[in-house]
C-alpha cells in the first residue's frame, strides 16, 4: 500500500526508532567531527547524556554559518574514502555550503525520493520528466536516483530549452513532471504557444519544489497541465529534495521522520514554539553518514499540523512554507543572499554602494532579477561602449558567482532612495 513500511509507523515505534538513530548520530558526530565535540563540550553534554528524542532539546544548534566556517569538508563525519558524492549550494567563492554523501546516504536519499514519487501515484511504469538542474544543485541528481530506485524511467532532461521539453514530453510520453513550480507555469505557456494540448500528453502528476509557491499557483498548474501538483520540500544541508512531501490530500507535507526529526522553534529565543504555532523549522538528521547535522536551523518558517492525515500516513505534516527568518531570496530555484550580490557589485572598480535589486515575475513567467546601479563620476564615460562594458561586467560577475542571469541597469545618481538606517536594497514584486 505505501512505498515503505515506515510510512504508517505508530507513534511509539517511531519514537523508539528515532531515539536509537539519534543516539547513534550523536555518537557519530562526537567521534568524527571536532566542531561538534567542541560544541558539545561548551554545552556540557556528552553522547551518553542523550538517551532518547526527549533529550534532543539539550543539544546545540547548527547554522549555515557553521557550514561556511568549516568550509569545505570540516563537518564531514565520514572519511573521504567513504564519500561518494559532493553537492554544494551557490554562493561567493569560499562561502558555498558543501555537503557530502556516502553510498548509504545516496541509497537512503533515493529511497526517500522514490517514496515522494509514489506519494504522487508514480510506479515503475511511469516516465519521470526531470527538469531540475543537474550539477552541484541537489535537485537534478536527487530526483534522478530516486526515480531509478522506484524502477521508473527517468528522462534527465534538466532545465532550459522549453520547446524541446514539450516535444520530449509529447514524443517520449512523460507521465510525471519534476521542476520548480514557476518553471511548470512557464512550460505551460510554451505548450500553449506551440499549439500542444494536454490531451496530446500523458502527464498525470508533478512534484514541484525548490522555491516557495501558493495554493493559487497549484490551481493554475493543475488546470493548465491537467495533473495533480504536489509540493516537495528539502534543502541540501539536510539532504536535498525529499525531506518532506505532500500526499494526494494536498494538505501539508509529511516529514520523513524516520530520517529527520523536525522541531519548530521561536527563532528569537531558540525555545520550542507553542504547539501548532508558526516558527523556525529545525532538523536533526538521524541516518546520514556523510554530513549528519544536529538541530540545523533552516530559517524557513512553518508550523506542525498534528491532526491525522486522511491518507493514512502517520508522519507529522508541516504546513506549506510561509517565509524566511532571513533575507534569502529564491530566484528560479536558486538560493540568493543579497549580501552576495553586494559583494559582486562592490568588486567592480568605481562602483559605489548605491544599488537596488528588483525581483519580479510576469504572470506564468520566470523570476527576473534586475540590479540597478547608480552611475557616478568615476564610471561615467562619454562613450557608450564604456558604460555598456560596466553593465556587462556586473552581469557576468553575478552570473558566474550566483549562477543566475540578471539584468543590469545603470541609473542616474541619487535616483535610488536613500533610507535612514538599513537601506532597502531588495524590492520583491513577485506575487506568489
Amino acid at each position: 500500500m505505501f512505498y515503505s513500511a515506515e510510512e504508517n509507523i505508530t507513534p511509539g515505534e517511531l519514537k523508539k526508532l528515532q531515539s536509537e538513530r539519534l543516539i547513534k548520530t550523536v555518537k557519530r558526530v562526537y567521534e568524527n567531527v571536532p566542531f561538534y565535540r567542541k560544541k558539545f563540550a561548551e554545552a556540557n553534554i556528552e553522547p551518553a547524556d542523550i538517551k532518547s528524542v526527549d533529550d534532543l532539546h539539550r543539544l546545540p544548534f547548527t547554522t549555515k554559518q557553521d557550514l561556511r566556517d568549516n568550509y569545505p569538508y570540516g563537518l564531514f563525519a565520514a572519511p573521504m574514502g567513504d564519500i561518494v558524492r559532493i553537492h554544494a549550494s551557490s554562493g561567493t567563492t569560499g562561502k558555498m555550503t558543501v555537503v557530502s554523501y556516502t553510498k548509504n546516504d545516496i541509497e537512503m536519499w533515493a529511497g526517500l525520493i522514490a517514496r515522494c514519487l509514489s506519494m504522487a501515484g508514480a510506479t515503475k511504469n511511469d516516465i519521470i520528466h526531470n527538469c531540475y538542474g543537474y550539477g552541484l544543485f541537489t535537485g537534478g541528481l536527487g530526483i534522478h536516483f530516486g526515480a531509478e530506485k522506484l524502477g521508473a524511467t527517468v528522462i534527465p532532461v534538466s532545465g532550459g530549452n522549453s520547446q524541446r521539453q514539450i516535444k520530449i514530453m509529447q514524443d517520449f510520453g512523460s507521465t510525471v513532471l519534476t521542476c520548480t513550480p514557476s518553471y511548470a507555469l512557464n512550460l505551460a505557456e510554451t505548450m500553449k504557444e506551440m499549439g500542444v494540448k494536454i490531451s496530446d500528453l500523458k502527464l498525470k502528476a508533478g512534484l514541484f519544489g525548490a522555491e516557495p509557491w501558493s495554493e493559487s499557483m497549484r490551481r493554475d498548474i493543475e488546470k493548465l497541465w491537467g495533473i495533480d501538483a504536489l509540493d516537495i520540500y528539502g534543502l541540501s544541508e539536510i539532504m536535498g529534495p525529499g525531506v518532506a512531501n505532500e500526499c494526494l490530500e494536498k494538505n501539508g507535507l509529511h516529514v520523513f521522520e524516520d530520517h529527520f526529526i523536525p522541531e519548530i522553534i521561536d527563532s528569537a529565543t531558540g525555545k520550542a514554539a507553542a504547539p501548532g504555532s508558526r516558527g523556525e523549522l529545525v532538523f536533526t538528521t538521524i541516518t546520514k553518514e556523510g554530513i549528519p547535522l544536529i538541530r540545523y536551523r533552516t530559517k524557513d518558517i512553518t508550523r506542525m499540523m498534528p491532526e491525522k492525515c486522511k491518507c493514512g500516513r502517520t508522519f507529522n505534516r508541516i504546513e506549506r512554507l510561509s517565509g524566511r527568518t532571513d533575507d534569502m531570496l529564491i530566484i528560479r530555484g536558486v538560493n540568493v543572499f543579497p549580501s552576495e550580490i553586494e559583494t559582486v557589485i562592490m568588486s567592480v572598480k568605481g562602483v559605489e554602494p548605491h544599488y537596488q535589486i528588483i525581483v519580479d515575475r510576469a504572470e506564468h513567467g520566470l523570476d527576473t532579477l534586475e540590479v540597478q546601479v547608480e552611475v557616478n563620476e568615476s564610471i561615467f564615460s562619454d562613450e557608450i561602449k564604456g558604460l555598456e562594458s560596466i553593465e556587462n561586467k556586473i552581469k557576468k560577475e553575478i552570473n558566474s558567482v550566483l549562477g543566475i542571469g540578471v539584468q543590469v541597469k545603470l541609473v542616474e545618481p541619487r535616483s535610488i532612495p536613500r533610507s535612514e538606517g538599513k537601506a532597502k536594497r531588495i524590492i520583491d514584486k513577485r506575487k506568489i
Binding site: 557616478n376 563620476e377 562619454d382 557608450i384 558604460l387 555598456e388 553593465e391 545603470l410 542616474e412 545618481p413
Partner: protein, 141 residues
C-alpha cells in the same frame, strides 16, 4: 584646436532630457550643438554650449553627472564631396572616429561638423586645407 564638449548621463525615463535642458535654460546657457546617443537602458547627451564652465557648474549643482571631452570642430563645404574630403584625411592618417554630429547653424555658409577621434592631436596636425574652428568661434555660432 580642441573644443570642450559636455556629456551627461541620462536614464531612459520620461522627462529626464527636459530636466537637463531646463537646468541649462535656467542658468542662461545657450546650446550650440547637441547629439543624443541611446541604448535600451540609458542615453548619453553630448553638447557644445556657449559657456561650458557655467554649464558644468549648473549641472553639477543639480546633481547631474557631467564629463568633458575634447572634440574637434571642422568647417565642411556645403556641397557634394565636402564631408568626404575631411573623412579622407582621417582615413589616410589612420585616425579613428568615435562619433560625429553636425551643427544646425552654418558658419560662413559652410556646415560645421563635430568629431570625437581617438587621437585628436594627430588629427589636428593632418587636417590641412580644412578650416578647424577655434573654441571662441564655435561657442558663438
Amino acid at each position: 584646436m580642441k573644443i570642450v564638449q559636455l556629456s551627461v548621463f541620462l536614464e531612459n525615463k520620461e522627462g529626464r532630457l527636459a530636466d537637463i535642458i531646463g537646468t541649462l535654460s535656467a542658468a542662461g546657457i545657450n546650446i550650440r550643438a547637441l547629439s543624443l546617443a541611446d541604448t535600451q537602458n540609458f542615453g548619453v547627451l553630448r553638447m557644445i554650449v556657449d559657456t561650458p564652465e557655467k554649464a558644468i557648474e549648473a549641472l553639477k549643482k543639480s546633481g547631474t553627472i557631467v564629463k568633458t571631452t575634447d572634440i574637434i570642430a571642422v568647417e565642411v563645404e556645403d556641397s557634394p564631396g565636402g564631408l568626404h574630403k575631411v573623412l579622407k584625411v582621417f582615413k589616410d592618417s589612420a585616425v579613428n572616429i568615435e562619433y560625429m554630429y553636425a551643427f544646425v547653424e552654418k558658419n560662413n555658409n559652410n556646415a560645421v561638423m563635430v568629431f570625437r577621434v581617438d587621437n585628436p592631436d594627430e588629427a589636428l596636425k593632418k587636417l590641412k586645407g580644412v578650416k578647424i574652428l577655434k573654441a571662441d568661434d564655435v561657442y558663438k555660432i
